[in-house]
């Protein structure tokens, strides 16, 4: 019964072999002269973006990975449904419509909560306005908060 999977095994072995072989061969024949410029993280030429202490890259990559998992699970449930679509009939259709509808609610919420906004860079946090109560322009709110905090610091320093 397992014999039918032999082609897959063969392909897997070939793929792994190709990967390993190319790495080994290139390691043997390439020159090895590292210098700081070559070792700094490459960000299309400009110097790497400064990030809060300790974090190597922005967390919005994590948010995207997390959303990928949620919709990946949705796809997994679609596979068997698609295979038996004909036999499941109307009941199957309505059932899957509910499922897709509910996950779509999650998608709308994520979109509105700013999870998908890629444009706003790390320095101008899009959600600074989320927490402040006054519905003013988000940028103004962020600077004001910073100013207020600095003011606190000076007052404390002056005392």
């Amino acid at each position: 019964m397992l014999t039918e999977y032999l082609p897959i095994v063969a392909m897997a072995v070939l793929a792994v072999a190709f990967g390993v072989a190319s790495l080994v061969v290139s390691r043997m024949f390439r020159p090895h002269r590292p210098n700081p410029v070559k070792l700094s993280p490459y960000e299309c030429g400009n110097d790497p973006v400064r990030l809060p202490r300790g974090e190597r890259f922005s967390v919005k990559f994590y948010v995207v990975a997390m959303l990928f998992i949620i919709f990946d699970i949705e796809i997994i449930f679609l596979f068997p449904w698609a295979v038996r679509f004909r036999q499941l009939g109307l009941f199957g259709l309505v059932e899957m419509a509910f499922f897709i509808g509910l996950v779509f609610v999650a998608y709308i919420y994520v979109w509105r909560a700013g999870g998908l906004d890629w444009a706003t860079s790390v320095e101008a946090p899009a959600d600074a306005d989320l927490a402040s109560d006054s519905p003013r322009d988000p940028m103004a709110a962020a600077d004001e908060e910073l100013a207020a905090a600095m003011h606190d610091a000076e007052v404390a320093g002056a005392r």
Binding site: L88, F91, L102
Partner: protein, 481 residues
Amino acid sequence: MIDAPRVELWAILPVLMLFGGGLIALLASGFARRAAQAPFALFTLAALAAAAASALWLWNRETTTALEGMVSIDRLAVVATLALCGIGAFGAYLGFHYFERDDFRRNEFYALLLFALGGMALLVAAADLIVVFLAVEVLSLALYVMTALTFRRGPTEAAMKYFLLGAFASAFLLYGVAMSYGASATTSVQGLARALTGVGGSQPLALVGALLLVVGLGFKVSLVPFHMWTPDVYQGAPSPVTAFMSAATKVAVFVAMVRVLDVAFGSLAWDLAPAIAVLSAGSMILGSVLAIAQRDVKRMLAYSSVAQAGFILSSFVSPEREGIAAALFYLISYSAAVVGAFGVVMLISGGIREQTGFERFRGLGRRQPVLAALLSVFLLSLAGIPPTAGFVAKVLVFGAATSAGYWPLVLIGALASVAGAFFYLRVIALMAMQEPRGVDIADPSPLPRLVLAVPAVTVVVLGIVPGVIVPLLQEAGVLTW
């Protein structure tokens, strides 16, 4: 064409109301990022009222299972859903007041609260071990996020600990379900009961499955060997979330335990009862003893809730109707007292940066007489002093345990409640007899005091006239699924 299964959506109306409410609250919080919290709180209360009404409507439906045997309709589920909606209403109001006071805007709190309640309402009505597992996961995930909602250091650590041990417990719960599936070739509670009574099932596997299920669910209600997370999480989490979590999770998980242990593993009751008695005795003793050593009120209440879980579990040694009714009464009186107590602690502890050490409660009688009186009523009920519902609950629970022949357990329970009375009364004495120190940061607003008067009145009324709900609970105790 394969015939479509019958879908009786009316069977899970309360769950649909809660999940529907959660979805609407979620979309609203998505679109109105900076809206005020009041409409959210009002909408949550409306959704809870709708769920309670639909639960009441299910009261006189004939007891059956629905949705391909996944969910059961019986009075036990109705009573539990009503209790959950009550606790949820207080959780919503306390959360609203807590966040409004410090203007910390997190509108997702209400959506998460409704999802957690929907998971709990589903858990109490679950008739299949898969639905039990999924409901436990929905309520736990929602609670983990609610615990970490204010991003301060305390709540984040509490969420981390709660998550790690919660996931660990879920793995045990799952292993138990897998073993019972292997033992009986079915995951439905009814099928399990039939397989284990007949020749088909395999007793040893089912026994291990039942024990692992008790371990998994024991983590959730913080029974003794699995209570390590409770003090840190109850102290770290924001007070309204702690109030909601401590009461609602116990109601939901204990009712699920009733269904799993009394119906599914009914035939194994004889082998499981000693294990349950040991867990219950351990929780009662350790919970009370450790609570005495505490200097922080929230931590003390956390250990006391471990002891209370032990008291509730002691009624499980008698699987008949009377044991279940005693457990339900105890759950209702415990929830009212603990939600009220954490509500008062929230008002006293001064907003988001909570300080709940004993110094905060010294001499409270002079400065905040109303709050001190309210807290005293709740602590008296938790201690089980006569005029309050806690006393009647303890009598009922110990009555059920003695009728099952576990009188040593009752003896241990009596000793534990005496020790328990000590640390409850110590706080009351601290409030009444001592001189207040430090600046008073209690919350002056009158409305929360009115709201917290409601559980105080329920606790006293149930204490004086328990006959009001005991017969109803007796009816709810009849279990066929």
